[in-house]
């Protein structure tokens, strides 16, 4: 019984990692339809921002404040990676809207540039980030040991999701975003600057990639190619959830997380992966446009 409960927790925990990783992509690929292959590398940059923050704290800040580095790293990763995203959008992507194949290649190239940049600055070997002390250890309830770091990730993903929903559904800028993503021509005809919306939305998606990178430092060491491990997962979650549907992304991430954990529990790690991919392929045969597809009565 308790082992099943533990697997459910692990599944949710894995789902929350997947969701964090995919959330930025749900914006850049899901809403904006840019096949953003640099997403993984934006995640990687977020992880290195965290590492850099740790280095700065070790060198310049008194030791008793060390734990604060992680708290500060989250907004720092968001802002810095959002800035890089904005630059990427301005220099490359804005010329490639509506050209998915070209944007795929161009963003892949941009990702390689980012990887090399990091390799030049920090070196090729992996670097370790020490978890802050308040995230070490675990919480014991009903005989289950739930690591604080995992609980923290689940909490963080809830905060990020809440923030994103409030932004999209409760603010003026969010309304503009939804209008542009739905009907670009008409949005410009009511006076919205689609240029500004594209730029800010892409930056926002990149920012969430940064936050995801920040939390990946809690899982293990980080290296310049860490993004590659997550890019497939991220696309998988967005496609299963339904391109353009944020609710789908949430359910997709949790679903994949829980199924993956159970498959691995029943078989082994590699067999589990095989089973989850088989399940996804079967699912997409049944529903090619994902869990939630956008269909409305716009013209009848």
């Amino acid at each position: 019984m308790s082992s099943v409960a533990m697997q459910i927790f692990n599944g949710i925990s894995l789902g929350s990692v997947l969701l964090l990783v995919a959330m930025g992509l749900a914006i850049t690929f899901g809403l904006m339809r840019v096949i953003n292959m640099a997403h993984g590398d934006l995640i990687m940059i977020g992880a290195y921002v965290t590492y850099l923050m740790q280095v700065i704290f070790v060198q310049y800040i008194p030791e008793q404040f060390f734990d604060w580095y992680f708290i500060l790293a989250i907004p720092a990763a968001f802002i810095i990676v959002a800035g890089i995203g904005m630059l990427l959008e301005f220099t490359v992507i804005r010329h490639l809207y509506g050209r998915p194949l070209d944007s795929l290649l161009a963003t892949f190239g941009a990702g390689l540039i980012l990887q090399q940049l990091i390799r030049t600055i920090f070196g090729a070997p992996n670097v370790g980030v020490q978890s802050p002390s308040f995230l070490q250890g675990s919480l014991e309830i009903f005989g289950l040991y739930l690591p604080f770091s995992r609980l923290f990730m689940i909490g963080l993903v809830i905060v990020c999701l809440g923030g994103l929903f409030i932004y999209l559904y409760r603010t003026r800028q969010g309304r503009r975003v939804r209008a542009v993503m739905q009907n670009r021509e008409m949005a410009t005809c009511v006076g919205i600057s689609s240029r500004k919306v594209d730029s800010l939305t892409f930056a926002m998606g990149a920012g969430f990639a940064g936050v995801a990178g920040c939390t990946l430092t809690l899982i293990g060491p980080i290296g310049p190619t860490i993004g590659l491990n997550y890019i497939v997962d991220a696309f998988m979650v967005v496609v299963v959830g339904g391109v353009g549907a944020l609710t789908g992304t949430v359910i997709g991430a949790l679903g994949i997380g829980v199924f993956n954990t159970f498959f691995e529990y029943w078989t082994n790690a590699s067999m589990g992966k095989v089973l989850i991919f088989a399940l996804i392929i079967a699912f997409l045969q049944w529903r090619p446009s994902g869990l939630f597809s956008m269909k409305t009565r716009s013209l009848d």
């Binding site: 003026r172 309304r175 503009r176 939804r178 209008a179 739905q182 009907n183 021509e185 008409m186 949005a187 410009t188 005809c189 009511v190 006076g191 919205i192 600057s193 689609s194 956008m294 409305t296 009565r297 716009s298 013209l299 009848d300």
Partner: protein, 233 residues
């Protein structure tokens, strides 16, 4: 106020509009008539900046606006109500209306409950929290008109507002257009299929055929006899 001078425009290489000149004087309602597929909607899209001009120039308040974006044009007071409504179907009625405020220069954030659009279309108030896509075609058309009126535009471009809409709503929409003309003295360009309605409201009219203006005149000249060759009456 808004003037097209010998415009040639179209999609890519193929020109849909050929040598079109048309003037919309301030405070007047100009009707654009013609059969399906002769370029009326293309003309409106060109005026709005959705289609690039190949030759000729568009003047708005005596300035050339050929290179201005649709965003710029709408913010400077050109309101566009496209054919097929093009409301934002996953946004609520209220959100759709609030998007109409984007074009305003005065940073107004909310539509006051007693706004004129709610007098024109009371249904929009009752349905404010419904999704735009759940509305019927006629209600969507009302929403599209209201969304443009909220911006308080100087010129309104209306593309076949009563096409394919249930008859009881057609009457409402025609009443609103008449009221906009009489009480608010709005400048309007109305693309219309209904000859009767056009002859009732137009100050001036143009007839298009195969991408060209083939006939124009004052309302008095807008008679069935003169139109027989150009329209399917």
């Amino acid at each position: 106020m808004l003037e097209l001078n010998r415009i040639e425009a179209g999609y890519g290489e193929s020109a849909v509009l050929r040598d079109v000149s048309l003037t919309i004087p301030k405070g007047k309602l100009v009707c654009l008539l013609g059969r399906n597929g002769v370029g009326k909607s293309t003309l409106l899209k060109t005026l709005m900046g959705l289609i690039k001009v190949n030759h000729g120039h568009i003047d708005y308040q005596s300035h050339n606006i050929n290179d201005k974006s649709p965003t710029w044009r709408s913010r400077k007071g050109i309101g566009y109500i496209p054919q097929g409504r093009e409301i934002f179907s996953t946004l609520t009625v209220h959100e759709n209306l609030q998007l109409g405020l984007e074009a305003r220069q005065d940073q107004k954030k909310n539509i006051e409950p007693g706004h004129q659009v709610y007098d024109y279309f009371p249904i929009l108030k009752d349905m404010q929290n419904r999704k735009g896509g759940d509305l019927s075609g006629g209600q969507q058309q009302q929403l599209a008109i209201a969304r443009t009126l909220v911006a308080d535009p100087d010129v309104i471009l209306l593309d076949e507002p009563t096409e394919g809409i249930q008859p009881n709503i057609v009457q409402d929409i025609q009443d609103v257009i008449k009221d906009l003309k009489q009480t608010n003295e709005k400048t309007m360009l109305l693309v219309e299929q209904s000859f009767d309605f056009a002859s009732e409201v137009a100050d001036y009219f143009y007839v298009m055929d195969r991408g060209r203006i083939v006939y124009e005149g004052e309302r008095e000249e807008l008679t069935e006899e003169n139109m027989r060759g150009y329209l399917s009456i």
